[in-house]
């Protein structure tokens, strides 16, 4: 272990609780900014808190002959996986736990999220929810590979899959300068994995809300919160992998990371809410035939730069 992890620095239980709290706050921030941008009124940013409280006390509505086990499992897994993906996101320059395969961990949590969302669509035994679930499968399949290549590109430049090593490798130059494509694809694909904004076809109005159509009460809260936390975790990860994390003048490191994370959230929500809903049947092809070659080219450029000692 080259550096201390959060668990070593604060003790295991406080570190886990701290990361969960940070994740929930990040999720609330994302949901609040989203609300404010959609409605155009900044004061509606508190709306997510109110609706969370309402969903907590709302009575659960059910369907005929649901697969209750898988449904509940999927609903609980969405926020759990979003929080687990935060375990390798640096907070104040340290991650909750540090392994030699942090990036793959982050990616694995996304893949599991993918399966969990399909379960949410499958569980209620309802046609719109199932349609949404299968839409999400097709969408996830198309954006999984570009996302993977974008993540790996950052690891390639740093010569390590460890998040803290990637932070250290950006002391002189932020990775976004040499890998803008990977940055944009990472944020966009992550939005696709959170089926948010222009990628919300799995929950679109044409299938009556799709995956989320039969959700109520705590179940809906869990899924919505998981999406928001995952978007927040993605923003924090993007700030760490491509925008240099805590590096910057005058301000202390953690504050810089926070500022960059909020900037990514604001940019993501502002841009995402201005793009109309993308139909998966018209756009997954773009994922396969445009984004995959683009991200591979990006990785090639970075690999050549690595061989030339550019990042050394």
């Amino acid at each position: 272990m080259p550096e201390q992890t959060l668990a070593e620095a604060w003790g295991l239980a406080p570190a886990v609780l701290g990361v969960v709290a940070i994740g929930l706050v990040l999720g609330l921030v994302v949901a609040g900014v989203d609300r404010a941008v959609v409605s155009g009124a900044p004061r509606t940013a508190v709306e997510p808190i109110r609706s969370s409280a309402r969903l907590l006390v709302e009575q659960r509505r059910t369907t005929l002959a649901p697969d209750r086990l898988l449904w509940r499992l999927g609903c609980a897994a969405v926020p759990a996986l979003a929080l687990l993906s935060l375990a390798v996101v640096p907070i104040g320059g340290r991650t909750l736990w540090s392994t030699s395969a942090d990036l793959v961990w982050f990616n694995a949590m996304e893949a599991l999220l993918w399966a969990a969302v399909w379960l949410v669509g499958w569980g209620p035994n309802a046609v719109h929810a199932l349609t949404g679930g299968y839409r999400f499968l097709a969408q996830g399949l198309a954006y999984e590979l570009p996302l993977m290549f974008a993540l790996i590109t950052a690891g390639l430049a740093a010569g390590s899959l460890r998040t803290t090593d990637i932070l250290a490798a950006q002391q002189d130059l932020w990775f976004v300068v040499t890998m803008p494509v990977a940055f944009v694809v990472f944020v966009g694909s992550a939005a696709a994995f959170a089926f948010w904004g222009p990628f919300a076809a799995p929950t679109a109005a044409d299938i009556a809300g799709g995956v989320t159509s039969e959700l109520s009460g705590v179940d809906r809260l869990l899924v919505e919160a998981g999406r928001a936390v995952f978007l927040g975790a993605t923003a924090a990860m993007a700030a760490a992998l491509f925008l240099g994390g805590g590096s910057g003048p005058w301000l202390p490191g953690p504050l810089w990371h926070l500022v960059k994370t909020l900037a990514v959230v604001a940019a993501l929500v502002w841009a995402g809410r201005r793009i109309p809903l993308l139909r998966p049947d018209r756009t997954v092809e773009v994922g396969w035939t445009v984004l995959v070659p683009l991200t591979l080219l990006q990785a090639l450029v970075v690999a050549v730069l690595v061989l030339n000692g550019f990042y050394a």
């Binding site: 395969a101 893949a111 399966a115 035994n125 299968y134 499968l137 399949l141 092809e285």
Partner: protein
Amino acid sequence: MLTELSGWAITAVAVLGVLSVAAGIAVFVVDSMARATFALLASFLAVAGVLLALDLVYLAVVTALMMTIEMAIMAVFMIMFMMNPAGLMPMTMVHNAKASAVMGAGAFVVLAVGIWTIDWPTRNPPRPADSTRQLGEAIMGSHMLVMLVIGIALFATILAGTILATARGRYDRLGPGLDATHPDDPVPGGLPR
């Protein structure tokens, strides 16, 4: 070898091992395609947990990642191949029961005999500082040929599966003379072609 592991790790390996076998059995007991798929995923995730307990982080997370994607893709193939694509009706998860039981028992015997009779190295080599790097060097070095062959075989299988699943060929798309300017696809796709 076992003595190197902490009691905590040994317990985790044992519990997760039992869990993975139990989830594996559940695959054949449940009566829905979705439950069978996710029981199998649970089994693989337990195996990933075993790898994690043995401090092989990369192998663990890559197992979880790959198996999850695989199960999700299995759901896609389910739509293509199954007589009951939504899988909402209960159905048996056992096909060709006798032959599979024989093959399963055979595989178990071969593996068990192998495990107990193989001449395992007794000397303890020093553990690598970074097992991920060691694995990468092995895959990209001495074992590259094996990985390439496996990769191509897997890719060929995927292509073959897709070709078997689709009823449409190039003559359906481009006409009998293959001279249509635009392919006639049921789903147009997003790019101007």
